[in-house]
Structures are given as C-alpha cells and as structure tokens.
Symmetry: C2
Subunit: 646 residues, 2 copies
C-alpha cells in the first residue's frame, strides 16, 4: 500500500491527494468539500450520495485513462440497499462506503451538499396563488357517428367550450397531426394540456389518455453568471418537487459577463457555443430534477427563465453585439414567449419558455424577478432592494414610485480584484474578527464548523477570502483602528511591531488574516491597502447609487433594506452597515431574502398575474443612469470614506 | 447509325423508340407529346425548351447508367444564345436542336406544353383587391444613444406604430435573435415584412435593408390527386408571375385517394412518405417558378394550399386513420395556419402556410376554394357548381342559402373502370362523332390537331378514351340509336352486320371507336355495354345529387351551371346535357371556369377577406349526406336512364 491518488470534487473543483483505501467522505471533509451525512459515515442514512465521473471528465493526471469503477472499492451491501442497482450502475455511490483505489473525479450533487453552504439557491417557502400558464383539463368526448362526423379537432374544441368554458383555443400543429390516433387510443377520454399567455385564448400543447396522464411540471430557472439554479415545480399543487443547481458552464469561456460578451466578438461560433453550453446545463439540471422525483422529461410543460441582461441574451441566443459597447442596447425589453425547443431545451415537445422582461441595459430579468418577488409596489414602506453581483442592482420605492439603477461595483464584492479574493466556496474565509489592541484574528472558513481557532492549524486549510469576509475585514480593521476613515492604514502601526502588520518601505501595507500554516496555499492570506481601496470603490458606488435614488425619491433613508441573492445571504448586515455600504439604518431593518430572483421566476411560473406584473414592472420602474446624474461624483467621493454612522 | 433508343417524356410518361440522330421535337410529336414551337423547329423561337433528366429518373432499359449529356448531341449556338449557359448546365435544351444518341428521359416543362392540352391548370385572369396576409413596410429608425438606449425590438415596434399605425406586433424569434445585426448592417433603414391573420395583430417575419429588399412573393398551390399546380404570385401587384404544374408524385403510391389512404395503414412510414413526396414536389415547383422569374426562394413569404380532404391531410401529415373508414372523420375542419417549414416547405424561414378549411369528410378545401372563387353567396342567381374528380362535388345556392354534397361518381369520368379508359393525356380520344345509319366514327386524339380522319391511319396512334370522350361516345351512341334510353344496345343492331358492332353470343355488346390500325396498342378501341353502365352509374349519381340539392333548396333547376376543374374544361356542355348528367338547361347557361380551386387559393393568398369568407363558407354550407337522404335511391335509379330532355 502507501499509494496516493488525486481526487477532484465537482462542482467546487477542489482537489487533493488521498491515500489508497481512504473513504470519499473523509477525503471530502479534509479538502473542505461539504457532503451531507446524518449517520456519521456508517452507511445508514444514505445522505452522502456522490456520482463518480467518467475518466476524462477532468484531467486528474497520470491515471486519467482508468475506468472510474476500477479506481474505487466495489459497492457494499449498504449501498445496494440504499441506492439500488440502477443508481449504482449510473455511477452513484455513498461517499462513506467508497474507498479510493485510483485517480478520481467525484461529483457532489446538490442534495448531498450541506444545506447552509456554497450554493445557497434553495427555493424559499414563499408562494403565490396558483394560476399557471399551463393547465390540464379532462374531457369525455362523444364518439363520431355517420350523423355526427364533426372533425376531431372541432369535436375536442367544442367539448372544451362546453365542459370547461374554454373558447377560442388553437392546437399545436404537432398535436393536430397526431390527434385522430390520440383520441381513439384514449377511448375518447382525454387529458388536455392548455398553454395560455395573457394576450391569447390558449393553445392545446398535449392530448393524452385521461386516466394515465402523468405529472404536470414546470421549471423555474435562474441563470446566474456563476451559478444556475433550477426549481422543478408541480403546476397542479404549486410545490417545488426538486431543486438542482450547478456552475454556469459558460465560466469556461469567461468568468464575468464582459469576457463572455467579448468571446462572441472573437469567435464566429462564440454566441452559439455560449448558448448551447448553458442550455445543455439547464437540460441536465432538469433531467436530474425530473429523475429525482420519479417524473419524466415529457411531464415538463413550462419553463420560466431569468438572468441579467447578458445571461438572458446568451441563453436565448440573441445577438449581443450592441450589449457590450456604449450605448449598451439590449435586443429586446419585453418578455419572450417561445417554444422551449427553439433554444434547444429538451422537455415535452410542446413545452413553452417564458423569459421575464428586462428593464434596461444592465438591469435585467433577474432584477425584474426580484421585484415581483418582493413587491415593493404593493407596500407603503419604502424598500431598498440590493442585489449584488458583478454589478450592484438597486431598486428603491413603494406603491407610489419605483426607481432603479445599476452601480459599477466591480467584482470586488465577489472576491475578484482582491489579492486573496475568491468565490464563496470551500476554503474561503467568510467571517473575520479582529481583537483591538492585540490585533489577534479569528476567522471562519467555509467547510469548517465554528472558528478556525477550534482546529489545529494544519486542518484550517484556508484558501482565500470571499466577499463577506472582505467586508468583515474592512469593518473590523476600521473598528480596531488598523485603518482610518479614509481607508489608509494608520501610520502609527509601524511602531507596534505586530507580526500581523506587514510593513513595506516603512509604511504599514497589509494585515495578516491567516498565517501560512493555516492555509492550503503555503503562504499568509492578507488584506492589503489595495484591497481596502477596491472595497471602498465598490461600497462607495453602491452607497452613492442608493443615495441618488433616495434623493430622487425624496426620502432620507429607506424603511427597510432587502439583500437579495447569494451574496446577500452570506453578508452580515451589521458589517455592511458598519462600512457604510448601506444607508444608515437599524440592523434589524436589513433582511436577507436568499434567491429572490429564483423566487420571482417560480412565482411567474405559478401565476400568470405575476407575468403581467413583471411586464408592468419593466416599464414602470424609472431607471436612473448614474453616469449622467449630476450629483453622482460628489456622492461617490463621499461614500468611499468610512465615516462612522454614514 | 441505325441504332435506336428508348425516349421517355415526362410528366406524361409517354415512351417510344427513336432512331439515332432524330431530334426530340420530332420524336415528341410522333409520340403525341405536345411541345410548343412557333418557328417550326428552326431553333429561332426558343419555345421548345425541355429538360434532360438525370439517369435513373425513370428506368429506360439497358443504358440507364449513361449520363444524359452523352445520350444527346452537343448544344448548338442557337441553344447557347436562347437558353444561356446556366440553363444548359442545368440540363435545359431546345427540343428541336437536340438529337438523340442514347436512352433518355426528357421532362417537358409546363411552359413548353401546348397551351390547350393535357394539364389545364393555368391561372385565370380573374383577381381580387389586394390585401395580402404578408405586407412589407419601410421604416427609418433613430440610432440609439446613451440618452435613448431603448432596446432594438421596442425601437422597431414603436417606429412601426408611429409610421404605419401597426400596433401590437410581435417578432418571429429567429428575427429577434438576429435583430441587432440586421438593424445595424442596414444602417437603421429597414424593410419589415409583416404577417397577419384575421385574429392576431401581426408578426414580423423578416427584417432586411430598406434599399435592397427583393421581391415579395406568395405561392398558391392546388394539390390535386393527379396534378399539382403552383401559381407564384407577386404580393405587391397581385399578378401571377409564374405557373408550374406537375403530376402528384404520390401516384407512385396509389392512383386514387383510397389506395393512398390504404398505403398509410400498411406501412408505418406510409404517411411520412406520402407527405414528404408531395411537399418535395411543391418545393420543386416553387423553385422552378422562382427561378423562372429571376427571384429567390427567400422572396416567398406565404403559401396557400388547397386540396380535397385526403390530399389536405396527406400534405399536412395529419393522421388519416379515421378518414378512410366510416364515419369518415377528418382531423380538422378549420383553416390551418403554420410555419411553412413545419411541413418541410423550403422557402423564406419565416414563410407561412395557410391551408383553407374543409367542409365535411369528402368536401374538401379545394371545394371551399372553388366556392370563394365563384362566390355564389354574393349572387341572386342560383348556381350549381360541379367539380368532377374521383368524386363529384356539388354546390348549389346563392346569397340566401348554400348546399353541398359529394356524389360517389366513381372514377369512370376520369377514364378508370372503362375498358379502354385513360386519363386526359396524349393519345386519349377526347371527342367522338357517330354518323347515324352508317355508324361511321370520327374522333379527335389529344396531341393531334383536328379529326383523326385528317391523318393516315398509322399516324393516329390512339391509346384509349378519356372522360370527355366517354361522355361523347355515350351521347352519340344514344343519338345514333346504338343504345336505347335504358343504356342497353339496341338488339336490332345484330341484323345490320355493321363491322363497328361487336356481337357476342348473338347480342350486340361493343361499338368500335378506333380500328386496330388507328391505335398505338395494336387492337381496336371500343365502348362496351359495361362501359356504358359505368357512365350511367356516374352520371346518375351526379344528377341525383343535383336533384336532391335542388329539391332541398326548393328550385326546379339552377340558373347557371359552373363546371370547375380540368374535367370541366374538357367536357362539351352539350354532351353533358345530352346524356342527362346535368339538370336540363340551355347549353349557354353551362360555363366552364377552368381551375377554380387554383383561383380560390390565389384569391386567399391575395386577400385576407377571402380567408374569412372561406372560414365562413366551410361552416355556412349545409352538407347533405346522400347516403342517408330518403329520396336518393329513387332519384338515382331515375337519373341513370338516358331519357331525352331529362
């Protein structure tokens, strides 16, 4: 023995060496990959399901040609019992029961990841009244006779008028082509699936036997720049029946929106590539979700998708040539209603795709989804909705008026342009506390419970700092006097000779957060003056945007702040307030609502009224272009400082 | 020299042997194939264009593997001048200039066939006010700026509202996908093609530069059981710019409707085969028509198709399982509006297909087309419209009321179920005169000018009798006393010992029309007692149907009879009246209108109002089912006799 192998975990991409015979659950934990386990690795709970990826899924070095099954131990009785043979044959295993015997790529499905971490895209429990675009009706038809030889289509349409009051329906042509066979095989008792939009009477998209009519499902999809989340929803109960998420595979063609738009200009097939890769991922997520709840792809009849304007265009394959350059013109603002198959989505042949409208160049369908989920237009309180990604998108308003803007926060709040910045992924430092005086640092790493000080240094394995960690670092450095309100390091720190303070050319320049022995990268993880400047620019842009909206609206501060999106879930409102990123407010008035864009997509899937609201929202929100706003520069400069209470 | 080869002419299918060096025009004439020629074969007029078919187009025997160019002489200077090199390369030749040098299949295009013969499917000169479903609008857009970054689609839609009053338009998704590039390449001056139906606001199907926007064409298609006719029409002028016709290639899978429906039950791919073969033929006709007028396939934006119910279903690929068996239920009655590409038609990607509604199981979209062309519902006169094919379709009525029925005439009137019956094709006897007393017979053969008596017997080359010939034979035999009013041969003919009368078992049984030396088949062409019985059944069914409709309507006779369809063009009204096929009327009140179904399709292409009329007609016409009509049997028996004046 004594051999060791490379094991890569997807979708996090974490990799490490493991000794022969070590089990995948232990290896995962050592690498900070979160895998659910209720029984503590005894093969009893069946929660630590993982999927072995075929060789070549990612290059793992020398043994990349070996079959995955040869690289692990044979399945145990516990696995046969808990997974079943079909799942085993498809490469599913229990991590705690599977010992490594070669190089390996392991995929950790959403359901096996520990709930509170990494990809926080669970559907909320919130819902809306059920009035979906897709509904199913059962009708019993009179069999034709020589006296009544009414054609099949008219016979069906007239029964739907008589029995369900549905007039003016049309039929999808492929349904019409097969209708005579469908009606006769069903013995004239059929379940008819009808798709309606606001403006049309409705279209029959499926006819099947009334008795065995299967599920009626829809998929709400939030296409993020980094993550795609899909919520498979029962259109007859309104319940989410399965949630799946994955990295947006477009990441391979550019981490951020701009580099992906640029990709389409360099490569004539670039747009087609970007579209097909994201659509295939949505197909895969849908297929997994459908499989997980024992349904069929053919049971999915409606898809609602949201995303920022670039993701929206790339998902639909819209020409993006005008989107990446001034004056940043979108191809379309209104909602897009098409056959899902026309962009390559593979569900029921009659499955529709509804993409929510966009507001303006940089305020996309995801923001419209957030607004219809939070409904500021139904409230007296003035809400400030903050959705932070590569850009910060802000909506301010209530039932009287709504304003929106997009702030060029840059990607600092996502951990980019920060020396040790990284995404919120295992190994990322997400919480930081600094002891005034001693400048001792405590931090939390995604993948480890509690503070790092609870673990031996070698087990901490920090890899970088994610957005919430950066914000806490700045706030704590300010509180501990490491930096001054203008963002500069206090020059007097030089005199302290504290090992946490890195001095360059006689000036303090960095604070050590994790010592080399506490990291997986073999050197200290620090926060530098340059990092603090990036944070200042980002939080300044966001704050200035909020102040401009407040002044336009004529309010001094919002009644409530709603933090939307994954970043909003990580961030501690107290720290966001402490660095002045948000208008001054009691911290209990700042709430995080998780993936509100996903909620909005789901609501539009369940309720046609929400689609009408979205159409109205896209037109009703007044978009404020900060670049041309007179007071913006002044506000921006002011908002960059760390004034207490501001 | 001295070699001889097999030459087959399409679409007639006539074949014969020809000596090496003989020219195609001469060979065609010898075989009775009509090819236009104004200069008498001098290579001066360019009217005798034919196309050489690739080997394998039809098996011509031994040399079927040889290339067509090797089987003919090389092109002459006259051909190069009159046809051009492109046409020559595509296999086009002048028949008078081309000498045979091997086995050959030659296609005679519609325009080269002599006008008055064979496939009488020319578009009439009749037209309707122009209000097509497809229209083109020119708009100049304001270029976007930072101050006005309205998305492209909304910019275009709002300009169409402002400049043309077109509100509520939507965009075909493929147009939306390419819109940013289209607008910018066109410099914001565009020609927008809009498709409207009655019920919707309209859809943008094409956006192209405003300056070079090409033609705007539509195709009216009459899909007959035997012949397909296509009228390429300019949607901006309403003029027919090219007419093409061809045999319906489904003939290979069954001559009549019933055998084609049967084919779909025997072969699981039968329906797909039948559909694809007819659609490919329409594509070919469209491509030839487009080429002939120097346009592009991409210029064709709208197609209107008509056909009897079976042709309608087979063209659309609708399940026909219920159409061929009692109670004969169609898949759909209403008009079908779809993307032309969804049935495999290859024109502009946004090209639409409108198929007119059907009335009842056997009264199809072709009949609806005839009715909207003849417009009985706008007239005080009571019209009887007679459309004879495999079934006779009758419409009786005026502005007060319309009745229709379908009579099982059987195919006798098309020349089938008649011993020497054949279609109206070269070699068919189409006119017959019998001298009372001597019983001398004169006849005309399709392909020969004038009476057969003008030619040496060897040049007559009769092959059979077509529908109009059969009717004239019956009428003349009746007038000459060969048959009695009950349809039987006069037994006293035996005593005449006339060589024209064939006696069997002591009874007269046949009349010789063409002597063996006057035929291409080496034996006499006769009309038998059995043939006369078939005619009686057919004309009786038609007449009984007309009488039932008249009695239902409460009229004694119609004010006018309109003979529609190719058969109506061949038939001599006097003879149809003489055998009592039509209600008794002055012969000048019987008019033949040619391909009224094609006219109706063309009108629906040019005018949306005609589509609304068609929808109304399909519902408004009262269909009378003869099988369940109490008086039918009595009428039928009575109508079968040849009573004078009845």
């Amino acid at each position: 023995m004594g051999s060791s192998y490379t094991v890569v975990f997807q979708p996090s991409g974490r990799r490490g060496r493991a000794a022969e015979g070590e089990d995948l659950l232990t290896i995962a934990r050592n690498l900070g990959v979160d895998i659910e386990s209720a029984c503590g690795g005894k093969g009893a709970c069946g929660k630590c399901r993982v999927r072995l990826e075929p060789p070549g899924a990612e290059d793992v070095g020398a043994a990349s040609g070996s079959a995955p099954l040869a690289a692990v131990s044979t399945p145990t009785q516990a696995e046969a019992r808990l997974l079943g043979l079909t799942a085993l044959a498809a490469g599913m295993r229990l991590a705690c029961q599977t010992q490594v015997a070669g190089d390996l790529v392991v995929f950790v499905p959403e359901e096996s990841r520990r709930a509170a971490q990494v990809v926080r895209k669970e559907a909320s429990d919130r819902t809306v009244p059920l009035d979906a675009a897709i509904k199913r009706y059962r009708v019993a038809l009179q069999q034709p006779t020589l006296e009544d030889a009414t054609p099949d289509a008219e016979r069906l349409l007239s029964a739907l008028v008589t029995e369900h009051g549905l007039s003016g329906l049309t039929l999808d042509f492929t349904v019409l082509q097969r209708l005579p066979g469908l009606l006769r095989r069903a013995g004239w008792n059929v379940a008819v699936t009808v798709w309606r939009t606001g403006s049309q009477a409705g279209t029959i998209v499926d006819v099947r036997p009334g008795g065995d009519s299967g599920r009626l499902l829809g998929l709400a999809v939030d296409v993020g720049t980094t993550t795609i989340a899909a919520y498979l929803t029962d259109l007859e109960t309104g319940k989410v029946v399965a949630t799946e998420s994955a990295m947006n595979p477009q990441v391979a063609m550019g981490d951020d929106v701009i580099s992906r738009l640029y990709h389409t200009t360099r490569d004539p097939d670039g747009l087609a590539q970007l579209q097909s890769t994201v659509v295939q991922e949505v197909n895969a997520l849908g297929a997994r979700a459908v499989e997980r709840c024992g349904a069929a792809l053919d049971d999915v009849f409606d898809i609602v998708a949201v995303g920022n304007t670039a993701m929206h265009h790339l998902f639909l394959g819209l020409d993006v040539r005008a989107l990446g350059v001034a004056p940043f013109v979108a191809a379309v603002r209104g909602a897009v209603d098409i056959l899902a198959s026309s962009v390559g989505l593979s569900f029921h042949p009659g499955c529709r795709l509804h993409v929510l409208p966009v507001e303006a160049g940089f305020v996309g369908a995801d923001n419209v989804a957030v607004v219809i989920a939070e409904e500021p237009y139904k409230q007296d309180e003035v809400l400030l909705i903050v959705d932070i990604g590569t850009n910060g998108e802000l909506v301010l308003g209530n039932r009287l008026r709504m304003l929106s803007t997009s702030c060029a926060t840059g990607p600092a709040l996502e951990g980019a342009h920060i020396e040790f910045g990284m995404r919120a992924a295992p190994g990322a430092i997400e919480r930081i506390r600094i002891e005034p005086g001693t400048l001792d640092v405590r931090f939390k790493v995604i993948g480890l419970e509690g503070w790092h000080t609870d673990y031996p240094a070698a087990q901490v394995m920090a890899r970088g700092i994610c957005g919430s960690g950066i914000i806490e670092a700045a706030a704590e450095m300010l509180a501990a006097g490491v930096i001054l309100p203008d963002g500069g390091f206090d020059p007097r720190l030089v005199d302290l000779s504290n090992e946490r303070i890195v001095v360059e050319n006689g000036r303090p320049r960095k604070l050590v957060i994790a010592r080399p022995e506490e990291t997986a990268i073999g050197r200290a993880i620090t926060v530098s003056l340059k990092d603090i400047r990036s944070i200042q620019l980002a939080k300044g842009a966001l704050r200035a945007g909020a102040e401009i909206l407040l002044s336009r609206y004529g309010a001094e501060k919002p009644d409530r702040v709603i933090l939307a999106g994954a970043f909003g879930s990580y961030i501690d409102p107290q720290y966001a307030l402490a660095i002045g990123m948000l208008p001054h407010l009691e911290s209990e008035r700042v709430v995080s609502v998780g993936n509100a864009a996903g909620d909005g997509a789901r609501f539009a899937l369940l309720n046609l009224g929400k689609r009408r609201e979205a159409a109205w929202v896209a037109l009703a929100i007044e978009y404020v272009e900060l670049a041309t706003e007179p007071g913006f520069q002044k506000e921006y400069l002011e908002a960059m400082t760390f004034h207490a209470g501001r």
